[in-house]
């Protein structure tokens, strides 16, 4: 898809003048943001540029001090991550947000558990563990990311890469409008990273746009349609990876080079 084609559409997720301060530190400084339907948008920036705060403002983990978030042309206000999840925005955080002592299935369904049908579900509020386990196993094998011996094993008994796989599988399974991935390949080996990148392309082909935050330039340039360069709390520019080199991107985000005025 070329850039012009995308910009004719309305953005599915939009941030306007987002501002967030932590005391005297300005993490977001009147930042604009657009994500178009069906695209993979890379977000790059130096450490401390405010990428994570931007993502948290879009996913409800942080309430911005100023500015607006629009989803599918409607103004939304997310007070908690759950609000964003109900709206169809699913996020994989850098910290993964998994509970180590609970099982893989428990973690995948945290906050949206399936109850049994009939009286046992309604009256006794009993969980349908079988259905949840089956779904979790299915999603993990779709990912092909890992082999889990036992879907009931505690997440803390998994390796770092496997844990990341669980978090990514959770987002891919439930995200219906937007999926946000914060450093999804940071803890993964070569083989597992490749699987995640394939999964990202796969999710995009299903029509769900993705926001990919990463420090790994080859990955960003390989899969992204557009790259949002974040610097000093705001959007510096948006570049097309086909027309720019990785060196350009790094120069922009570190301030070594200014982008030509658009």
């Amino acid at each position: 898809m070329d850039q012009k084609g995308i910009e004719l559409m309305d953005p599915i997720l939009k941030g306007v003048n987002l501002t967030k301060r932590y005391g005297k530190v300005v993490a977001l400084d009147n930042c604009d943001f657009e994500l178009y339907p069906g695209e993979i948008l890379g977000v790059i920036g130096d450490n401390g540029a405010g990428k994570s705060t931007l993502i948290k403002a879009l996913s409800g983990a942080v309430v911005p001090d100023g500015g607006e978030v629009w989803l599918e042309g409607k103004r939304v206000r997310f007070a908690t991550p759950n609000d964003a999840r109900h709206a169809g925005i699913e996020t994989v955080y850098q910290t993964l947000a998994v509970s180590p002592a609970l099982s893989i299935a428990d973690n995948m369904f945290m906050g949206r558990e399936i109850r049994k049908k009939g009286l046992r579900g309604k009256l006794l509020r009993q969980l349908d563990k079988q259905a949840m386990e089956q779904f979790a196993r299915q999603k993990l094998s779709d990912l092909g990311l890992m082999t889990i011996q036992n879907i009931n094993q505690a997440v803390e008994t998994l390796s770092g890469g496997q844990r990341q796989g669980v978090a990514v599988a959770r987002a891919a399974a439930f995200g219906s409008k937007v999926i946000i991935l914060d450093e999804p390949t940071a803890a993964l080996g070569v083989k597992e990273s490749r699987k995640v990148l394939e999964l990202i392309a796969d999710v995009r082909n299903r029509g769900i746009p993705i926001i990919l935050i990463s420090h790994n330039m080859p990955h960003v340039f390989e899969v992204c349609d557009r790259v949002h360069v974040h610097r000093l709390g705001k959007r510096l520019t948006v570049i097309d990876p086909k027309n720019h080199t990785m060196s350009d991107a790094v120069a922009y985000m570190t301030g070594a080079k200014e982008p030509e005025a658009a």
Binding site: A97, A101, L102, Q126, L127, T157
Partner: protein
């Protein structure tokens, strides 16, 4: 730059497609035990409990085992408080006010009946409501005001205990008055086994002039008669079942563990952490009120100076820790606390029957506490 770049990922096609498999053969029996205990943490206290019963049976002979029903009666208050304590500790909190809330609720139940003339059933409801409300105050302090649970409940302990003395004017309601005017308050002290025997013998037309002798020609009826089970003990067991079901099989239970494990991760994953904490503290307060009702059944009277108000919290924490529930939250099962309370009860009664100095009990409980936490740390290593 482009000609230098080696497409390192192209060799992935030749990579082994076999799924990673773990080598099971290397597992020693000790590692397997560690894995099992990691999966079922309440096994440790169960093993200790069975071991303790076997040791005392071997030491004291056949006279020990029939006393187990007495152990149950002696631990029913601490056992219920330990259930309440377990819920709080699973969320990585601690509740120092459980004993005080129980005593205060028993006083409320008694005073509502005798000072305000409410029907005893209504008085019970008032007591439950006050317990739940006090739990809600702690829950609000912990979840909203963000006061550490230790501090919040340390304050609540003093406040509730003092309010208990002031409100009751330090007056005791005598057991006899309760028995005559509001027997419902003492109902949990009744023994269904004795009622059953009396009912069966009544059907057969057998009555006794005063108290039924312990030994008659009916062996089974004698056995049931001598098994001292109260409704309070049955309620304790029933509540352990209900809570274990709630923690294991409902979304709420999973959230309690997730909040105790890592509240930030739970919040990001979609758990309403504040609401979960509120519900846990309120439920715990309600359970403390049930403990207050059990106290009336066990002691007979309503006394604001019952020792539970002062030592109940430490006893319940002891039971929970011996039961293998991690003070760091998120690990352990409610049955652990139940077994933990029983272990303390078995040692107390067994050593007393053996004629040992009571200090030996505390000494052994001290070792058990440290041992339980050491085992907990060892089990956790399975994750690294």
């Amino acid at each position: 730059m482009a000609d230098k770049s080696d497409n390192y990922e192209s060799v992935l096609g030749g990579a082994t497609q076999n799924v990673a498999s773990f080598e099971n053969s290397r597992k020693t029996p000790l590692m397997r035990l560690q894995g099992t205990l990691h999966h079922t943490p309440s096994l440790v206290p169960l093993i200790v409990l069975v071991g303790a019963i076997l040791i005392f049976t071997g030491w004291l002979g056949p006279r020990f085992l029939p006393q187990m029903s007495l152990v149950f009666q002696q631990i029913q208050i601490v056992g219920i408080l330990a259930l309440a304590q377990s819920l709080i500790i699973l969320t990585a909190g601690i509740d120092l006010s459980v004993g005080a809330i129980a005593v205060f609720c028993s006083v409320i139940m008694g005073q509502a009946t005798f000072r305000y003339g409410l029907p005893p059933a209504v008085a019970l409801m008032v007591g439950f409501a006050v317990g739940t409300g006090l739990g809600a105050v702690s829950g609000w302090l912990v979840s909203r005001v963000k006061i550490p649970p230790f501090i919040a409940t340390l304050g609540m302990w003093q406040i509730v205990l003092a309010a208990n003395y002031i409100y009751s004017r330090n007056e005791t309601i005598r057991a006899r008055d309760i028995r005559e005017e509001a027997p419902v308050l003492q109902w949990l002290g009744n023994t269904p086994n004795e009622q059953l025997v009396v009912w069966i013998e009544g059907l057969r037309g057998i009555t006794y002039e005063r108290i039924r002798p312990n030994v008659t020609d009916q062996f089974w009826l004698d056995l049931i008669w001598q098994t001292k089970i109260t409704y309070g003990v049955l309620l304790l067991i029933a509540m352990a079942f209900v809570l274990s079901y709630m923690l294991r099989a409902t979304a709420w239970g999973r959230h309690v563990y997730a909040v105790g494990d890592d509240p930030e991760a739970a919040q990001l994953a979609g758990v309403n952490v504040n609401r979960t904490l509120m519900s846990v503290y309120m439920l715990s307060g309600f359970i403390c009120a049930v403990a207050g009702w059990i106290m009336i059944g066990r002691i007979g009277s309503v006394s604001p100076s019952a020792s539970t108000g002062v030592v109940g919290n430490i006893q319940s924490i002891t039971a929970v820790v011996i039961g293998g529930i991690s003070l760091f939250g998120g690990r352990g099962s409610i049955w652990g606390a139940f077994f933990g309370a029983l272990i303390v009860g078995v040692f107390e009664l067994g050593l007393r029957m053996a004629g040992a100095n009571a200090q030996w009990t505390y000494l052994i409980i001290g070792f058990l506490i440290i041992g339980a936490v050491a085992v907990d740390q060892w089990i956790r290593k399975v994750s690294n």
